[in-house]
Subunit: 225 residues, 2 copies
């Protein structure tokens, strides 16, 4: 009722990162429910699936519009599409993976991404032994040309799957090419201009959080991830 579906959000400033993470989860749960033939989903069903309160679900969704029907819940198909629109999954994204090691290899051709519109178009490495070789339908290109190639292919999202030492240099390259966002698997902070969004994926940090939880017998049932 409040915002304007169909166009870009005007008040996205007040949408918290936590809300975004939850939207991703609602999206998955909806997919599973629809696959099972469910037509309608209530806020408390979604809430149970994520281990949160139903009020939270309704608040999250109401930030973007009123998608539900009082008395019956949310039409599952509709809601899933609305969330896809909110998250920008109703289009496809051009992705480049920098680094053809284990992580890079695991990422390309991972059905989960393709299915949601993330298409890996380019794969780079600096290892002469790898350059020119094919990995799962992609030819490994020389990282030295990353900036130009990414620009030509209009890459929007770059995934850094390189060692810590190489991360900032790789980031600088893809930033020059005009990417809008970077997902960084290197265990280090990278500096980017304001208009580029970065997210850090750091497995060591996740393990450390587990280590803390075990050590202090902490059962953080809230805000778990």
């Amino acid at each position: 009722m409040k915002p304007t579906p169909g166009e870009t959000l005007r008040d996205s400033a007040k949408v918290s990162p936590s809300t975004i993470r939850r939207l991703s989860k609602y999206y998955r749960v909806l997919g599973e429910n629809i696959a099972k033939g469910t037509a309608s989903v209530s806020s408390s069903e979604l809430a149970n699936a994520l281990g949160i309160t139903s009020a939270q679900v309704r608040k999250d969704l109401s930030l973007f519009g009123s998608f539900g029907k009082r008395g019956s819940g949310y039409p599952a198909q509709d809601l899933k599409q609305k969330i896809a629109w909110i998250l920008g999954l109703d289009r496809s994204w051009s992705v480049a993976v920098i680094g053809a090691g284990n992580i890079g290899t695991a990422l390309i051709g991972y059905g989960e991404f393709e299915a949601h519109g993330f298409h890996v178009r380019l794969l780079f490495d600096n290892d002469p032994a790898k350059i020119g070789k094919k990995i799962k339908s992609l030819v490994v290109k020389d990282i030295a040309n990353a900036a130009d190639e990414c620009k030509n292919e209009k890459i929007e999202i770059a995934v850094l799957a390189v060692p810590r030492e190489a991360a900032q240099a790789a980031a600088d390259q893809v930033i020059r090419s005009g990417v809008r966002a970077i997902l960084n698997f290197a265990p280090c902070h990278i500096n980017v201009p304001q208009e580029v969004t970065v997210r850090q994926e750091n497995t060591a940090m996740e393990l450390e959080a587990l280590s803390f939880a075990i050590t202090h017998e902490l059962f953080h049932k809230k805000n778990e991830d």
Copy 2:
């Protein structure tokens, strides 16, 4: 000044997940600074490295004790060790990896983990072609025996690197073996008893957060990760 370093935290309930993530980052920054020969670090130096305020740094640290010297800052070595103690990194952890695909393979023998006390002792898969083969010094074992083998090896942390469909079954196995924590790479929620801590590692969700940020031209400089 408040808590009791040297033993388990009494009031760990009031430590937020955000604080834990930041402690992991302080820990990394301290490592880098010490490598450069720095003896003392101020709260604002740490703050700059993470892009947060110095008050935040001091609050975080003061939850666990007073480690700093007024006028000069925090002794880098000491502080790093204190944080190691807080995060439970002053000991070693026995880890099992379930799933010897790309992710599983990337995880074993990754120096970053070994260096922080996370030792991968067991690797499982259900693929007969892989069972018995060696991957980077570990022999792949049959996932059917995961519960027993993990119990024998006193595994404390299990990493699930299996497809979504196999995740809950794998989780049930390692829970039976008595693991305390699970890091789940499968893109799905898993049910665990209260005493087991779970963290979700979900690259698709990270990409979706980037997709949202690009779509809505949102530069979330706060709470980025």
